[in-house]
């Protein structure tokens, strides 16, 4: 299982802030996970599309498409940050 977190505009668009997911076999990078989520269709297809300016973190560190993902990880997707 991995923990998936969604924040801000993305959380509202997907209608959820958190889910637990059994990592499908063959999905072992952030990029592959994002493509997998995109295939859920509807809001997921729109928000996870390659053209959307999304940021992500794996275990609370900034992550890129080739960042490895493994069972037990905390993976977060979010829009560009706007604090301060």
């Amino acid at each position: 299982m991995i923990t998936l977190l969604y924040f801000a505009r993305l959380r509202e668009a997907l209608g959820t802030g958190r889910e637990e997911l059994l990592l499908p076999s063959g999905i072992n990078t952030l990029g592959a996970l994002r493509a997998h989520l995109e295939q859920r269709g509807d809001a997921w297809a729109k928000e996870m599309a390659a053209g959307r300016n999304l940021r992500a973190a794996v275990n609370q560190s900034v992550a890129m498409a080739d960042t490895p993902i493994k069972d037990g990880d905390e993976v977060a997707f979010f829009p560009p940050v706007t604090g301060g």
């Binding site: 801000a8 829009p79 604090g83």
Partner: protein, 150 residues
Amino acid sequence: MSVRIHEQDFDVSAEMAAMRKDNPKIGAIASFVGVVRDINEGDSVATMTLEHYPGMTEKAITEIIDQARGRWEVLDALVIHRVGTLKPTDQIVLVIVASTHRGDAFAACEFIMDFLKTRAPFWKKEITPQGARWVDARVADDQAAERWKT
């Protein structure tokens, strides 16, 4: 060195006084306070709600402070960032850097603020007469962080 994320307001004088009392080598204290404006992108702002990613926020800001400590003499540093609902003229964020001399204090304080703006996971949602909207990231903020790479 300290990072705090909470809803309640902060007292700049009290935070600076604690730093001064702890370390008589401090000669210079630079600080920055971010404030909610009543107008953003041309629309009036009634209130603003700040969301963050608990855990990662503290980690990201601690890393930014550590980078500043590697570049300048930092005797003490503090970042407080509020979350929850704020209104115009409310304080949002506080960065304080104490050093022996002012050049280091100013540079480290501005560096921390520039990277906090582009790296720390906070998101602002504004309530305007046109409704609620998530604030877009500013290109100027990316540029401000970029210039420290030289």
